[in-house]
Symmetry: none
Subunit: 210 residues, 4 copies
DNA sequence: CATGAATGAGTCTTCATTCAT
DNA sequence: GATGAATGAAGACTCATTCAT
């Protein structure tokens, strides 16, 4: 995600079975190399090698290194955003406390589904092209959360968008800390419990007096 | 933060006045180049040039590029950690609500003191060498927060360390989102207010029944 | 015209009608790609694509890229050489002035028949393999001109070969300048007239005193 | 001279002694590699190697391969153009016959001063970036010749520019043929004599009747 | 001590050519 | 026969690092 944006779109739509497998192998390989060698060590040759193909083949699917990284990041973000959107849709019109725990749980599940992947992609998201994608995904999720919040029967949010942004990022922070290893052992065990507590406490401050 | 860890320590202890000024210039220049060109565009030559010296001189102060980046990151993290530690010391033995708002305010002030710098260094922290430093700084801050929490007269924390970690990272998340631009306009204005609310709500769940 | 000479001969003699059409399509496509993308942009894939076939098929007709380029150049040179030979045969035993204008006219017509093609092939002729072919074509034409000159009843050439070489290349120079665009607008209009004048003047210096 | 034009300017003006020597070595090496390996074999690594330096150093002086080739070509063309301009200036106001032989002689001398160089650069001039430079040099020379012709006391040129273009290219053709080897042995010996004859005959067709 | 030219390993990317389908 | 995905050698170019001046 270093140089000019250029065209970050994949070269051929992976419709055929073989293409799908190849693209999948590339994504997996990218995550692995990212994990082992870091962003700057994630070279096209290394990714291709790990994916069991030649560099040339990699370039048959992606016009350049940045496009590959962007694709992998995008897929990941899309998965997380989708999961959260789904949870938000499911919990409309429920009490805020239900919303809070559903949101925390759904986000955590999505992010920790493949911790390796989640962690590896932080570096990609930090660079130029990745920031754009991350911003878009955040916006999607914030919109979903805000919509859910607005539907709560027992609370009133004067600025649902801001509250949603705070809520989302209050989850993101601790999860990221855990993934990046800025936490002592045993943190994970209590992570969900604490996140639910955090979010519930925050959202309930918007509860209507009965 | 790309290659082998090697020795990331500065070469000479900056005791003389001139050294101090030079090192300062290098740090400033590094932030600027990082901001304008990104991590991969942050070359030693460019940093030296912007700092008004030759590459050779840069290498008089740092054994390699990674050491320079690490030093800049370290200084930043140290500043933030120090500020939070200070706030925590000051607010020992106070009610949790006071702790909550003090913590949120202090962290926000430290992080937004030079937003440019804060933002630029995320990319550095994301690559290998930086993670280590960030982890250390986090640990320091968590320890300070935990100590403060433990002293609260009106609350009881069964696992102060975990609560501190959650609290810290619940702040980090939204601040980072703001710095990286994953937030709509007008977010900053209400950031502090929301963070205080978030943290207060969370910590008060540990309040003792009177 | 890049690598080792190897075998520059076409793979199959294009006797069948389909082969003929295919080869023709390849030649046309080559000229077009050469014109639009330059010699180094003239890749086998692009040529095949423009010719409406796959790379594999291209290799059915030519063993490698250089062979294709050589064939296209050769065909072009053969056409020009043939036209000039024909003109020379026709004008044997005529006065030098008639020879001069016939030669200039015939050469010009042959070269400007497809200016695009003529121009595109200069780059091919400039690289290694092409020089050989060009030299051969030149030799053929020089021989034809020399033979014609020798038959002139009103002139005597002590070194017909050298004179023929000069004559031919005195035509080539201006035509090439025109094709490559080293000439102001309006040059073409007067090109033939001037070439006839040039050649006539030159050859008449060999006229016998009556 | 293959890809986008970009910046074809040298990177640093070779003012210091060392730079001058380095640039000189690069030019010489370029000609040599061009001669031995052709345009497509003229790689930056090979040129640097032959010049006794590393690729990195080459790139200290030229931003890319095309810029190097352009610089070498430009220097050559400038030398030739300068020589011809000089001759034209010297022979103003002289009879056309004097002009003719002076022009032929001067051009020949300039072009054959370093035949290797002249020959090697044809391929460079044939590619995109080179064509531009060649066109400019041609224009300069044509202007000089036209100015000279106009000053002839014993002739009248209705379209000096076109006549100059024809004259120049009628010289270029045979010289190029010789350099590229499209001529039998012994051609060189009589080249000058024939070129003078050719040009004299052509220009005298514009002589005023006495 | 400062300088900045030189080095060259290491990246990305292209494209001629092959060969399984 | 035709196809076009896969290969991988080779080229352009960068940049961390060193060292002669």
């Amino acid at each position: 995600m270093d140089s000019a944006p250029a065209s970050l779109k994949p070269r051929k739509s992976p419709v055929q079975a073989r293409s799908l497998a190849t693209v999948g192998a590339l994504h997996t390989a990218t995550i692995q190399v990212l994990t082992r060698q870091g962003l700057s060590g994630c070279t096209t040759t290394r990714v291709a090698e790990r994916a069991g193909m030649s560099v040339g083949s990699l370039y048959q699917y992606y016009p350049n290194r940045d496009a590959l990284l962007a694709a992998v990041l995008d897929k990941h973000l899309d998965g997380v955003a989708g999961a959260v959107e789904h949870a938000c849709r499911i919990h409309r019109d429920q009490p805020v406390s239900a919303m809070a725990s559903a949101l925390a749980t759904a986000f955590l599940a999505a992010k920790l589904h493949d911790p390796q992947e989640s962690k590896a992609l932080y570096a990609v998201a930090a660079d130029r092209g990745g920031a754009e994608l991350a911003a878009r995904a955040h916006a999607r999720i914030v919109a979903a959360i805000a919509a859910m919040l607005t539907s709560a029967p027992d609370a009133r949010f004067d600025d649902p968008s801001t509250t949603a942004t705070i809520a989302l990022n209050a989850l993101i922070g601790p999860v990221r800390a855990w993934l990046e290893g800025h936490a002592q052992a045993g943190f994970e065990a209590r992570l969900e419990e604490h996140l639910v507590r955090l979010l519930t406490a925050y959202l309930e401050t918007y509860r209507l007096r009965p």
